[in-house]
Symmetry: C2
Subunit: 381 residues, 2 copies
Amino acid sequence: MQNGILPFNYNHMSYKSLDTSPRILLGPGPSDMHPRVYKALSTHMIGHLDPEFVDIMDEVKQMVQATFQTQNKLSFVVSAPGSAGMETCLVNLIEPGDEVVICQHGVFGGRMADIADRAGATVHKVVQEWGKPVDPAAVKKVLENCNPKLVAIVHAETSTGVRQPLEEIGQMVRDKGSLFVVDAVTSYCGIDLRVDDWGIDAIYTGTQKCLSAPPGLSPVSFSDRAVEVLDARKTKVQSWFLDLSLVKNYWAGAKRAYHHTAPISQIFALREAYRLVLEEGLEARFQRHQETHEHLRDGLQDLGFTYLVDEAYRLPMLNAVYLPDGVEELPLRKQLLHEYNIEVGGGLGDFAGKLWRIGLMGHSCDKNHVNMLLSALKEIM
Amino acid sequence: MQNGILPFNYNHMSYKSLDTSPRILLGPGPSDMHPRVYKALSTHMIGHLDPEFVDIMDEVKQMVQATFQTQNKLSFVVSAPGSAGMETCLVNLIEPGDEVVICQHGVFGGRMADIADRAGATVHKVVQEWGKPVDPAAVKKVLENCNPKLVAIVHAETSTGVRQPLEEIGQMVRDKGSLFVVDAVTSYCGIDLRVDDWGIDAIYTGTQKCLSAPPGLSPVSFSDRAVEVLDARKTKVQSWFLDLSLVKNYWAGAKRAYHHTAPISQIFALREAYRLVLEEGLEARFQRHQETHEHLRDGLQDLGFTYLVDEAYRLPMLNAVYLPDGVEELPLRKQLLHEYNIEVGGGLGDFAGKLWRIGLMGHSCDKNHVNMLLSALKEIM
């Protein structure tokens, strides 16, 4: 290293070649990736305006539509993680002074309320106890006393493992003339999710859960009704990076106008993860998640674990469980990680230190993994 | 594919296995990646809160400091492309009603002004003709008539190939008591850039230029003076995703509080790209960029190309050149891409259709590549 060129005593040789442990990822995401996705990641780099890359973007758009079960023309991938997808949906649809309704039954509903507030909305909350789904009657009551531009709700609360039924609430929102915004980060490609049939106007998700692509991207989709609202905005979206009036010209415009440099390697991997989903078929994939979940559930209950969520509303891919009496969560979780290379998640927010979140997502959702986890727990406990 | 599960006639078999052409990337970015970076991309996935990943984040932070030549504690990587890094710097430092000065001598200065305006700033512009650096005297004049919170300028305008000298303007900004914000997307790791010595308070860059990592991330750094301004904000940053008061707890906080899921595979690749930079050494890398540029320059001039920018202000990694008289740019550029697999860039903004931007960035910056390009041009022209 040349003298003086670096600002402090610095020895680059201290950085060893990268070497990660062969973890089995059974936490709340990221999930394990299929070998084909690893290979796709290291596909030879091409330019973001190369005709070959434009074709790949078109294919990925179709794959976003297929997996969201929608014909929405404005379906694409935000070049940033799921929380940026959340922000994209909210800040593009909200203008300062708008009323919005946010359903909050975990960490991520709270995050939506925070973002809506920052965008200048008057936020009406429908708050539900963590671990239960939002009650449609509670939404109905709030809707009677306000006139919201949108109603937002989380389909699969990653902090609690609750599956939120959407159809009844979606119908209410439509009857009210509001837009229906859904967080599908953890449900996407793991349980049924019908954007068109359920009248969802704006939806975002992540890539590192049941899709089993690398983290860092957020597929989104907007209905024609939502696009009309976008087009009728009186104020500029405060974020240039997330402004759909600009981004859509890159992903969907006839001229494919340069907006930012797409995360090309990530898009390669995403495309391969989508191919795997479509080869398996959505129904078969949903069934695999349900069956693997039941296998895990039976084994955990035998060991004395108990579920936070009532059976009717449990997510198959996110199992929030209390540990058997007298078992400390952190030492056990560390032992699993360091002695067995198995990652499970701790509690988030109100549940930190109180429960585990065991993920069965995408390529991680496998009976062999369940057996490994249960066997390890039996050996330790 | 199960009947009814997909919303339209859809045949997944139409998506072939991914296969890109072996392009040589001599455009304005992304650049070619070293084989070690491809390998690092497909490193086995681990969780974003895994102790191994936390260690990797710490190493990457040190590498960000080393390459920015700074000791700034708040140095990290935004989980989104360079334009999101731009937005991070501006929206965190600006509050509604603040005065700012934006220097604009190309597309990216204009983008900064747009973002500052959306954040509620009163924007004073120092506009320079495209292809020339901003004149310190013009900055001085504007500074005499306003009291800006920050002055922002592009170090290497990717749209014009101009190298902007920073020291004199930086001194003026410091004397005025304003913060000095610098866009280093194209200069970073290709020409000298001294954050501490030059009094830069906030800086952002991209990964896909002279660093030759995959696109999609934005290394940033903030001086202690900038952090004081962040800490003294009276209003919330409108963007939750880019709010440094939250992000810094994930990258730098003692508890490493979860904020979003980091783009793990990208960080793996970034770390390897940094190792390559540090093994080469910054001075040697800058010299390689300069020498390769001179080799290209001589060859292009022999062929009748002429430079937009005066020699004293030319960037080695971004050669903005007019084509010889009578040569149409688009057909020639397409021929290079399709017959030789060589990508060069067209003009951007005012220069669209008028000139080429030939990049020599990072791993792409190689005498063999220059010889390939010059030989191909000789054969075609």
